[in-house]
Amino acid sequence: MGQTLVEKIIGNNVNKTVKPGDIVTVDVDWCMVDDIMVPFAVSKFEEMGFDKVFDPDKLVLIYDHFLPATQVDDSRHFRVGDEFAKKYGVKNVHRTEGICHQLMTEAGYVKPGQIAFGTDSHTVTYGCVGAFATGIGYTEMAGILGTGQLWLKVPETIKVVINGKLPGNVSSKDVILRIIGDLTSSGATYASLEFSGDTIDDMSIASRMTMSNMAVEAGAKCGLFAPDEKTCQYCNIEYTDDIKNLRSDEDAEFARVMTYRAENFVPVLACPSLVDNIHPVSEMAGKKVDQVFLGSCTNGRLEDLQTAAKILKGKHVKEYLKFIVTPASRKIYRQALADGTLEILSDAGAIITTPGCGLCCGRAGGILSDGEVVVATNNRNFLGRMGTSKVEIYLASPATAAATALTGFITEA
């Protein structure tokens, strides 16, 4: 019988054929620790009595949630990280370059077929290049840093097939929100979500990242795309036969197959306060909005900023509305600077911030208060996530966000 993509990735790692439900111990290719979790992971690592990191070159430390610091104790996290890096010879430390999930592939770490763990649930993002990647707690991370290994259960696969051409005002964000709505926020728990079909083949890596990033919002363990030529170009590697084989076999067994026609998708919103509370934008049109957020590891990439710029060129956002733009990395920031995108957004009245996680995780740069409404391109609209528990968060695509910023009311692009 054939194998699914996730079975192949894990099987290659453990050098044997695996099936869903098997419990295996894998050798870890990449570990990512973000600034929030650094002090906790370090203290657990020391409590476990390890005196060296299994391979310092396989650990990447990234400061993003607390950057730039907004509370007096935030910088302690950077200090603890720096001291740990110095003591154990960790060279891969990104102190100001951007959001961890953007950097792990953009900076050339995670490649197709590899296995990565990170101390953040959106580690699933690296599935965009066909890597098995998932979030873990800091105690497990400390264990990997000492041993280089982690046990895991081989997941079943839910295959999502999308064929056809998406309508012009629909992006991969609308697609993944619809899928999460159909699955529910626990519908893919423990499973590998795998995206395929010619609509997916046509998508840029950036668009795929938006979808793998949000796989966890349906509970998935990973969100995978079979690597193709585009992937290899993005990862700066050759498209070899081994990589071509990293796709589910025709006769592989799936727990569930969900099939969609691309033409049937419409722009949607995740309404308060659950990511699976999906409604068409048209249904919510006209609701007054106080703030719009374009950014995050979900939708802070160049194509997202360009989409907004196209809508806002030569215009200005509603006078009472705060339009906050956060590129996902410095590289993206510089690209958007060079091609004029940031100038258009700035002329339109955008508040452009440094790359980081601040607003998405409710710590900085646009926190809202009781009764306010925000349309945001990030991945979670949980109660209280971006301010008080009386803030209404609507998750949307970059196009919907930009169209809404222009009118001050929820607006379909």
Partner: protein, 155 residues
């Protein structure tokens, strides 16, 4: 015997412990803010040996291990839910907080009810009725029996 604190479905880790408290250096300093947005009195009222009972998908959202850690630090003996989000589930076992899947109990008990848990036998008694719980995979039971991942790695 402990008291039940009841929650609904899809309780996410931001509700258990919000991100603005994650900069506190210790779990002890964080624990007073547990479930703050859902039940501001929880941290003050919960006692050693009490239980959290919830519907489907408890602990969804972020990977923050602080979520099970604050529950354990407040003395919560176990979390019983119809289902759990996977990272929360793993984290709980790793820090030695029993997480128990039971499909029927959450619908049949109320906030404030007393219940008793026999973890070894996997049996809960509440309001005179016995409930059987789903068993953990062997690998996880082994870690939990040893008191968590650190103890298990140090064995």
């Amino acid at each position: 015997m402990g008291k039940i604190f009841k929650f609904y479905k899809d309780v996410d880790t931001d509700q258990i412990i919000a991100s603005q408290y994650l900069l506190y250096p210790t779990i002890e300093e964080m624990k007073g803010h547990t479930f703050e947005s859902l039940n501001a009195d929880f941290a003050g009222e919960v006692k050693e040996g009490d239980f959290v009972v919830a519907d489907e998908n408890f602990g969804c959202g972020s990977s923050r291990e602080q979520a099970p850690s604050v529950l354990k630090a407040l003395g919560v003996k176990a979390v019983i839910a119809k289902s759990f989000a996977r990272i929360f589930y793993r984290n709980s076992i790793n820090i030695g907080l029993p997480v128990i899947v039971c499909k029927t109990l959450p619908d049949e008990v109320e906030e404030g009810d007393d219940m008793e848990l026999n973890l070894k036998e996997g049996v809960i008694t509440c309001n005179g009725k016995e409930y059987e719980c789903t068993k953990l995979p062997d690998k996880m039971q082994e870690i939990l029996d040893m008191g968590g991942l650190i103890a298990s790695l140090n064995k």
